[in-house]
Subunit: 346 residues, 2 copies
């Protein structure tokens, strides 16, 4: 009843285990007759080499791992990850690799890493100094970091977060907004503070804002989900210091902000301009369509996978230049209304 092994095939075909192995991996080393016979027997018996045994022998598992810093249910609520996987997937399929999603095991990402049988890792949003990344190095598994900080030891695939954020802020400022708020990305892991990405985007926002000589904006942290965006809106200051424009670091949260604003009776963009970040496909269908900063997520995944595969093949590769971001102006932003009425607007 148990699995049929190479030895079973060998004895059934009257040859050695080696011959069976050769039949699959180096067919040219076998005589034509035996090759046929072995393959035939193997097929009849439904033989499939045990993947773990094969991996142990060849030191290759045919799998690359994706380090998921949080619970799968929260991470996959963000379409960003789907996009990324589309990119990774393309390269994986091209190279006959499977994709292993590695979430924290029993709360510990490090433990999960040790258990994962992969040829390489892709890390999402983790700093190069994160303990998980150090474990990776300790084991000596090739790794590529996405959305991280520059690192001398790992290739890092980034987009121009700072430039994109700056463009977003300039856009709002150009429309006459003076009272702004920022919705910041959540930390990748509980222990951390700002993610590398959040830090860069913040810098971009602030650069534009300071250059315009406008008061420093309030900032709120929100998870990457519509619900979190809604909560973020609630915690924005109201009254006189109410912002007329809000810069959100993710499209999902931006949609939440719009939704909450609308249910609070405000009009977007009439009463509140919102600009997101990512340009997810769905951001074009929202109501109103979201003004946002486009980053090439699929490309990012593709590029990261390509670099990882090269590293797995022994080539040493450096970090590529950050991919460019572009502001996509849709309908969630408009000129600030009655921006300096002598006394309170409303």
């Amino acid at each position: 009843m148990s699995r049929v092994t190479i030895a079973d095939v060998a004895s059934a075909a009257g040859v050695s285990k080696t011959a069976v192995s050769f039949a699959f991996n180096s067919p040219e080393r076998l005589g034509h007759a035996t090759l046929e016979r072995v393959l035939g027997v193997a097929h009849d018996l439904g033989y499939a080499p045990h993947p773990a045994a094969r991996a142990l022998s060849t030191r290759r598992s045919g799998t690359i791992g994706v380090l998921i810093p949080q619970r799968l249910s929260t991470v996959f609520a963000n379409p960003f990850v789907s996009e990324l996987i589309q990119g990774l997937g393309e390269l994986c399929e091209e190279h006959d690799l499977a994709l292993l999603l590695v979430p924290p095991l029993d709360g510990s990402l490090e433990a999960a890493i040790r258990h994962a049988s992969v040829d390489g890792f892709i890390s999402l949003g983790l700093s190069p100094h994160d303990r998980a990344v150090e474990v990776l190095d300790g084991i000596g598994i090739p790794t590529v970091l996405i959305d991280s900080d520059e690192s001398s030891t790992h290739p890092v695939v980034n987009v121009d977060d700072r430039g994109g954020a700056q463009a977003a802020a300039s856009h709002l400022l150009g429309l006459g907004h003076r009272q702004l708020a920022i919705v910041v990305l959540p930390p990748a892991r509980a222990e951390m503070s700002y993610t590398p990405t959040a830090t860069r985007r913040l810098a971009g926002y602030n650069a534009a804002i300071e250059a315009a000589g406008v008061p420093a904006p309030q900032s709120v942290t929100a998870g990457i989900s519509v619900a979190a965006g809604m909560r973020a809106f609630e915690s924005l200051p109201s009254g006189a210091s109410r912002p007329t424009g809000v810069l959100v670091m993710s499209d999902m949260a931006a949609i939440g902000v719009m939704k909450a604003a609308q249910t609070a009776g405000m009009r977007v963009p009439g009463d509140l301009s919102v600009v997101g970040f990512d340009d997810l496909p769905l951001s074009a269908w929202t109501n109103p369509p979201l003004t946002t900063v486009r980053q090439p997520i699929v490309d990012k995944g593709r590029l990261a996978a390509r670099m990882l595969i090269e590293r797995m093949n022994g080539k040493s590769v450096g970090s590529p230049a950050p991919l460019s971001t572009t502001l996509i102006v849709r309908a969630s932003t408009s000129e600030a209304r009655n921006l300096d009425l002598p006394n309170d607007r409303r």
Copy 2:
């Protein structure tokens, strides 16, 4: 420079390999002093058991596989899959499992299956008679089918597709629509025709339509994406036989249909009513918000994972009752206009 093995730790700590193994797996079998020492040495050396070796020995990989019948880039363009993974992920994390995405390898799903080192498989949309599923059986890997046909050999997790579809069609018919069209799901694999799911939904639509004594609707097949939905709209009949309502088997395609209709100058729902299937989160934000059939996708994933894990633990489980679906009426459907000029209601 190569990986540190259990033998390295053993000799560094002056004990046998067995002792090191015990230190991790049966700490109670070691004296307190040695236990501490071994763990200390292991930590200093950065030892991590080789996952493949461990898997070979224990016959457990700590991984469950998700059989992806198509390219990752097309499958993950559909938020349905993200939702499902959220459900699967919850259970996986609870049981300390990782999730392996297994797309066709070199075009062959069967080949991919053989290479995957997993303890169990979840199949998406494949018939129980699919060759891939047969390979699974041949190897003897526990498997749970999602969106499949009833099977005596495997647990199947389904929703009430037929009932949901019937409700959707009844909704349109109740609004006075007489000229309908159906947008059918694409085959899961190139070889197949209708998927089990598509067959059931079609039956549901038709049951309602026939009961209403309305002419049989046109049907078009469209992939699960906005772009495919747009193309589907294009290929709908125009002129006198133009449908006033369209039943779409996926929300993504439904959104595409709406979008294409709008860019063609039609108003939704004024000129065309559209009802989708799935109730993806984003379907609530579209313009107009989409009327659709809600299916509990996350629950589906959770349930499937739970059943698989039980099967992996040796318990034999049967198929659960189909999860229920409910029609969610939003704003993409309205009464049919001027349907027969003389006596039109409305």
